[in-house]
């Protein structure tokens, strides 16, 4: 089974999707906390719940700050948690650069709020078991993060 197939050919069920509003810092993080609470309710182990919440949060903040809004979808199987986060924003011009710790395109305003550490994508990779980022400049970005249970 190819890497491509892994993301679709399994019995992970769609559970819920959360809209993420672009540039809405007042609500930012709410979707991730909803995902965390849902995973807790379903009964996943605290470590899985925490890691998934961290990845969700970083992805959500990217959509808020850079993606112009998007959607976070949660898929569950008995042995798998999958987060799909997508937007139709400007895309990531240089993904290798974006994956570098400390690299950030955050504005001054974002930095004043405590963002812009440049650790978002590295944190997503660090805390997930598999991470795939599909991005096309001018079209948007889709992130698929998986956690083995």
């Amino acid at each position: 089974m190819s890497e491509e197939d892994r993301h679709t050919a399994d019995d992970a069920q769609f559970v819920q999707a959360f809209e993420v509003a672009g540039n809405d810092f007042a609500s930012s993080g709410a979707a991730s906390i909803a995902v965390k609470n849902l995973l807790k309710q379903v009964g996943f182990a605290p470590e899985i719940t925490r890691r998934a919440a961290i990845v969700a949060f970083e992805a959500e903040m990217n959509v808020v700050m850079y993606g112009g809004g998007g959607r976070m979808s949660l898929y569950l199987a008995g042995n798998l948690v999958r987060l799909v986060v997508d937007d139709q924003g400007p895309g990531i011009a240089d993904l290798d650069l974006a994956m570098q710790e400390g690299w950030s395109t955050a504005t001054g305003q974002m930095r004043e709020m405590g963002f812009g550490a440049g650790m978002g994508l590295p944190n997503m990779k660090r805390h997930s078991d598999r991470l795939r980022i599909d991005t096309t400049p001018g079209r948007g970005t889709k992130v698929v993060a998986e956690f083995d249970v």
Binding site: F25, A26, S28, G29, A30, S32, I33, K36, P46, E47, R50, A53, I54, A56, F57, E58, M61, M113, G114, F115, G116, A117, G118, M119, G120, P122, N123, R126, H127
Partner: protein
């Protein structure tokens, strides 16, 4: 390794408890001082204490996402209502201390709390 309750932490730091009063018996042994959200999320800080100068609502959400036991806002800062409400809604103990971040950390370290450097390589995934 020393464990301290948030009640004791509040005493040591002369802190007013603005949220999470029902959870002051929670114990912490590890703390991090940080003003950058994503730096908080790099480390395995489940059950730790955050000392920060940030007072915005995203800080509270970061703490929730990271599974922190509580947060100390230093320098006598007063968070806006939305921050306090978010902390209350999440049951996150929010301690407001007049001390600087440096002094707050100094006192916690004197009392035996430690950071991820001392808690070992397990702390950084």
């Amino acid at each position: 390794m020393v464990n301290a309750s948030l009640r004791q932490v509040a005493q040591w730091l002369q802190a007013e408890v603005a949220a999470g009063q029902e959870s002051l018996d929670r114990e912490v042994s590890m703390a991090l001082a940080c003003d950058l959200m994503s730096d908080v999320l790099v480390f395995s800080l489940q059950g730790s204490l955050l000392v920060t100068g940030l007072i915005n609502v995203q800080m509270v959400r970061t703490c929730e996402v990271a599974g922190l036991a509580g947060v100390v806002v230093a320098r006598g800062k007063r968070p806006p209502d939305e921050t306090i409400e978010a902390a209350r809604a999440q049951g996150l103990p929010l301690l407001l201390s007049p001390l600087s971040v440096f002094d707050a950390c100094g006192r916690l370290h004197d009392q035996g709390l430690r950071g991820y450097s001392d808690h070992g390589p397990m702390s950084r995934p």
